[in-house]
């Protein structure tokens, strides 16, 4: 009896304490996610696809790891087909008999028989397949690999990889020309730039559209995309004369103070092909009406309209192609040209903007161009737009939870641009798919032109606080709340519940699988040698290395950070301090450039260029072999 009373008393104290703590730290990052919330199985439709006869609608549901097959007219579910983790792209074979799904975190392709609607094969590919296209002859499959920065060429019948073609960094989206002669590939991170600024940290990004000869499976051209970092879907007109790619054009060479003047990003389309001559970049934005984060693109069969989803602005922009052509040709150009900074341009060709659901992504146009299906990823719906009326005719609700969990609300907050000044930007504008953008920025809180900072990935940041390169933000709510609201959004605060949800979402972002680790968990001989160097206490001359100058001292713990600040000798004249927070090492191989301002383009440069005095660890005694070993080990972190 006494025991029961004692237990009840203890439970009461615990509840009271919990309530007090909750109140004291609200909105705290440690806000518990209830089981019923974290276990919610949302569909998260990312891409949509119509069968060749428009009878079926295939919906790629990333979170529920399915392809849902719907009757395109009645919207009735025909079947749900399980696929792999974080599926990112899918397409039909040239004869429509097979549906290929790229499972980006499983490094595999699911091959679905469209007659039986069953997975008939799962083929290994690598690394992080994000899009797949078959050539018209049915000979090859082309797979965009985001991590290995290439397009794999597979035997379309056996799935055996024959070769990989070097493409852009973060290659993710593919399109085939209607005549089947060309494959076009875009990429989400900018290519390493050759241009070096005075302090090695201020360059505009460079991207490309990789053009592949589909018959020979070789790269035949690269269309330069100057100033773009983050290029997504691409579409080719039915006559093959017009190509359109959706992209982000960061304005990172000016302080972000210019956000008031549209100075953060331009959300653009790049047009190429015979209709336009040299490539032309045109903005979707209009002053105070921004089309944040353009993602999906479709061109009407008669080439009268272009449709673009803007995932941050949660809308579809409709463009009048003849008017667009008139605008372009009114200003003849012999070289690639960009109108990205002209906020008056889009009024010349934008017909309307149609509001859809949360985080609209992929879209699919019916053969007659009359219906446009739009996947609203964070709403578990598909909008059906009547393109003649330019309005949402119906919304298909995909089966799933009816409530919005904290995590879900946090994700919606992360991916929307509604909080940004004039709706220009959101968290995901810089943190592409929760990661980074490989761009260095000048954030004015530290002073104009001061403290240029490289953007870091958000994956697996739980337990790596403090945040910011100077360690100025002690926790995620501070990072995501006051700082973000003041310097990025400028116009609107999060309420407590929204900030908590955002912090919970960010804090819970997992790390993607590390591709440099062996399946058996063992290190290769080179990685093993590198680990010894990482942990060594003596240099090659037998002299002891001070503890504070060992790799493993600052980069300690499971995530490779001591969570403390050190001066590793990388301070630039424009930096306010040389004391920098130790960054975590999670998936460090993926996150170039390196150092606080992105001045090291590769891991090697951290030590071959920016560590002359051995302040960033004792490394100048290492041979080239040993430095290579150290890097091989770091890639496993």
């Amino acid at each position: 009896m006494n025991g029961r009373i004692q237990a009840k008393w203890c439970a009461g104290v615990a509840v009271l304490t919990a309530a007090l703590l909750t109140f004291a730290f609200w909105p705290a990052v440690n806000h518990p996610v209830r089981a019923d919330e974290s276990d919610q199985n949302y569909a998260s439709p990312l891409e949509v696809l119509l069968s060749p006869d428009d009878a079926r609608l295939y919906v790629l549901c990333q979170e529920s790891e399915e392809v849902r097959v719907l009757d395109a007219a009645s919207h009735a579910v025909l079947k749900n087909i399980a696929v792999g983790r974080v599926a990112r792209g899918f397409s039909l074979s040239s004869d429509g008999a097979r549906l290929f799904v790229a499972n980006s975190w499983d490094d595999s392709l699911s091959v679905i028989d469209t007659r039986t609607l069953a997975v008939v094969a799962t083929w290994p590919v690598g690394a992080e397949p994000s899009s797949v296209v078959e050539d018209h002859a049915g000979k090859w499959l082309f797979v965009a690999n985001r991590i290995s920065n290439d397009v794999a060429v597979l035997n379309a019948q056996t799935g055996v990889e024959e070769k990989r073609l070097a493409s852009g960094r973060g290659t993710s989206y593919l399109a085939i020309s209607p005549d089947g002669s060309r494959i076009y590939a875009t990429h989400v991170y900018p290519n390493p730039t050759r241009v070096r600024s005075e302090l090695d940290n201020r360059t505009a990004p460079e991207s490309e559209i990789t053009v592949i000869d589909a018959t020979r499976a070789v790269v035949v051209d690269r269309i330069p995309l100057h100033g773009l970092a983050g290029v997504f879907h691409i579409a080719i007109s039915a006559d093959g004369r017009l190509g359109v790619a959706a992209g982000l054009h960061p304005k990172n060479l000016v302080p972000l103070a210019h956000l008031e003047h549209g100075g953060g990003f331009a959300d653009t389309l790049t047009l190429f092909g015979a209709d336009v001559g040299q490539p032309v970049e045109v903005p979707l934005d209009e002053l105070e009406r921004y089309a944040s984060r353009p993602f999906g693109v479709a061109i009407a069969p008669d080439k009268s309209r272009i449709y673009v989803t803007s995932s941050g602005s949660e809308m579809v922009t409709v463009i009048d192609v003849p008017r667009l052509m008139r605008f372009i040709h009114a200003q003849p150009h012999a070289q690639p040209v960009s109108f990205a900074r002209d906020l008056s341009a889009s009024a010349n060709y934008v017909v309307t903007r149609i509001a859809v659901g949360h985080d609209p992504r992929g879209l699919a146009l019916a053969n007659d161009g009359g219906r446009l299906f739009v996947a609203n990823r964070l709403e578990d719906t598909v909008s059906v737009i009547d393109t003649r009326a330019n309005r949402v005719a119906s919304t298909i609700a995909l089966a799933g939870p009816k409530t919005i969990s904290v995590l879900r609300r946090g994700e919606q907050t992360f991916y929307t641009s509604r909080y940004g000044f004039q709706g220009q930007i959101g968290c995901a504008s810089c943190h592409i798919d929760n990661t980074f953008d490989a761009v260095s920025w000048d954030l004015e809180p530290d002073g104009m032109g001061r403290d240029i900072v490289d953007n870091k990935t958000l994956e697996d940041i739980k337990g790596t606080e403090p945040y910011k390169w100077n360690g100025g933000n002690p926790d995620i709510p501070t990072e995501c709340g006051p700082r973000t609201e003041k310097y990025f959004w400028r116009s609107e605060n999060y309420d407590n519940a929204t900030l908590t949800a955002l912090a919970v979402f960010v804090r819970g972002l997992p790390a993607r699988p590390n591709r440099w680790r062996q399946a058996n968990g063992e290190l290769t001989p080179a990685q093993d040698r590198g680990k010894d160097l990482f942990e060594r206490a003596q240099d090659q001359f037998g002299k002891p290395i001070p503890e504070s100058n060992r790799c493993s001292y600052c980069h300690s713990g499971p995530k490779g950070t001591s969570q403390r600040s050190f001066d590793v000798g990388t301070r630039k004249p424009t930096d306010n301090t040389g004391l920098l927070d130790t960054p975590q090492l999670t998936n460090i191989a993926l996150t170039a450039p390196y150092l606080h301002d992105g001045s090291a383009r590769t891991l090697e440069e951290i030590w071959t260029v920016y560590n002359p005095d051995d302040k960033h660890g004792r490394t100048n005694d290492l041979t080239k072999d040993e430095l290579n070993d150290l890097i091989e080990y770091l890639r496993t972190r």
């Binding site: 690598g126 290995s148 024959e162 070769k163 990989r164 073609l165 070097a166 290519n191 390493p192 050759r194 490309e208 990789t210 053009v211 020979r216 070789v218 790269v219 035949v220 051209d221 690269r222 440099w516 080179a526 383009r601 590769t602 090697e604 440069e605 071959t608 260029v609 041979t623 080239k624 072999d625 430095l627 290579n628 890097i631 091989e632």
Partner: protein, 363 residues
């Protein structure tokens, strides 16, 4: 009488004539039919960025020329030059290789390794990557691996994983680390090491082997064909399971069991100082020397060069018996100092110290 005398000697006359006729092929034999070319030469006068041409690569209808002042590509009768402004690692391009699967071209330069792919150039240096040294003398592509010969050992880039593996005195039998050339095939990879013979890597077992001159670094050959002709190896070419080797002191052919060496004194080589060898098959090879371009067909030799004395075009043929016959020609490679060779069907392209030459096969 006269008739009887003539009758008497008639059989001898007939026999003599028959013998003379039989011997005629030996006495007046035409030289063996060796390839003849009309050489068209490219210099700065007709579009080449520099006359010092270190390497040449045939890429279908395109020709790549590695010069001292940029990488030039000849296509549709016009030259285009890539420089460091385009991303080339260094202006001096020493070696070239083509990835037959992807069509990418790899260029070894005095300042790193560059990949030219669809017009984009990605460069790797000893500071920005795992490349062992910026002076890249040789490059060869096999499957997903790019094998590199540098002034500080050999290395291999796995283009799939991005991993660099270095080969030097610490993990191979290499004594010197000045690696001049590399030839990679699915079965074996050979490194030509300046002063350290030949290194052989077995792709299946991952083991290294080494071939040295039995006479060590002596510039003499005590016994003919006893082994590799010299330690200072400049070029290797592995084709049809035959290893062709060029050194500064003669050349070698190795079939896996027996060596056969070629020196000026007992072959048609115009000089023992050989910069490059290009094997055609198990029996035929081209050699680039400091005194002209040489071709060996398994028995006979031909040499193509401007005269060392007056610069006039020359071609000589040396038959299997050692008889040398001049052949009248009107064209020759741009210079006698040959640095690179590649084949385009029956045609040949030759990199020389004073221009690039296109040898158009004559019938």
């Amino acid at each position: 009488m006269k008739r009887s005398v003539s009758n008497k000697f008639a059989p001898y006359v007939i026999l003599t004539i028959a013998l003379l006729l039989a011997a005629a092929p030996l006495t007046f034999a035409a030289p063996p039919q060796m390839p003849r070319f009309r050489f068209e030469n490219f210099t700065t006068a007709n579009g080449l960025p520099d006359n010092h041409v270190y390497a040449v690569l045939v890429d279908g209808d395109r020709i790549w020329a590695g010069t001292e002042n940029g990488l030039a590509v000849y296509e549709n009768h016009a030259w285009k030059t890539y420089t460091t402004k385009d991303g080339l690692a260094h202006r001096a391009v020493l070696s070239l290789a083509r990835d037959s699967r992807t069509g990418d071209v790899w260029a070894g330069t005095m300042g790193g390794l560059s990949r030219i792919s669809g017009g984009r150039i990605d460069s790797y240096t000893q500071l920005t990557s795992g490349l062992s040294n910026d002076v890249v003398y040789g490059v060869s592509v096999e499957g997903e691996n790019v094998w590199v010969a540098t002034a500080a050992g050999g290395c291999r880039l796995n283009t799939r994983t991005g991993q660099w593996t270095l080969y030097n005195e610490r993990n191979t039998p290499m004594v010197e680390i000045w690696v001049y050339g590399v030839s990679a095939t699915p079965t074996k990879v050979y490194y030509a090491v300046w002063g350290s013979g030949i290194l052989e890597y077995d792709q299946k077992t991952g083991r290294w082997d080494k071939y040295d001159d039995p006479d060590s670094e002596n510039e003499i050959v005590l016994f003919k064909d006893q082994g590799l002709v010299h330690e200072i190896v400049t070029s290797v070419s592995f084709v049809d399971n035959i290893l062709w080797v060029a050194t500064y002191f003669g050349n070698s052919r190795y079939d896996g069991r027996y060596w056969h060496n070629f020196l000026t004194k007992d072959s048609g080589l115009p000089s023992n100082f050989t910069n490059v060898v290009k094997g055609v098959d198990a029996n035929r090879a081209w050699f680039g020397t400091d005194k002209g371009l040489a071709y060996y067909d398994g028995a006979n030799w031909a040499v193509y060069s401007p005269s060392l004395t007056d610069g006039k075009p020359e071609m000589t043929v040396r038959d299997a018996e050692g008889k040398v016959t001049p052949v009248a020609v009107t064209t020759a490679p741009a210079h006698n100092y040959i640095l690179g060779i590649d084949l385009q069907g029956d045609d040949i392209w030759v990199a020389t110290a004073k221009g690039l030459s296109h040898g158009i096969r004559q019938r």
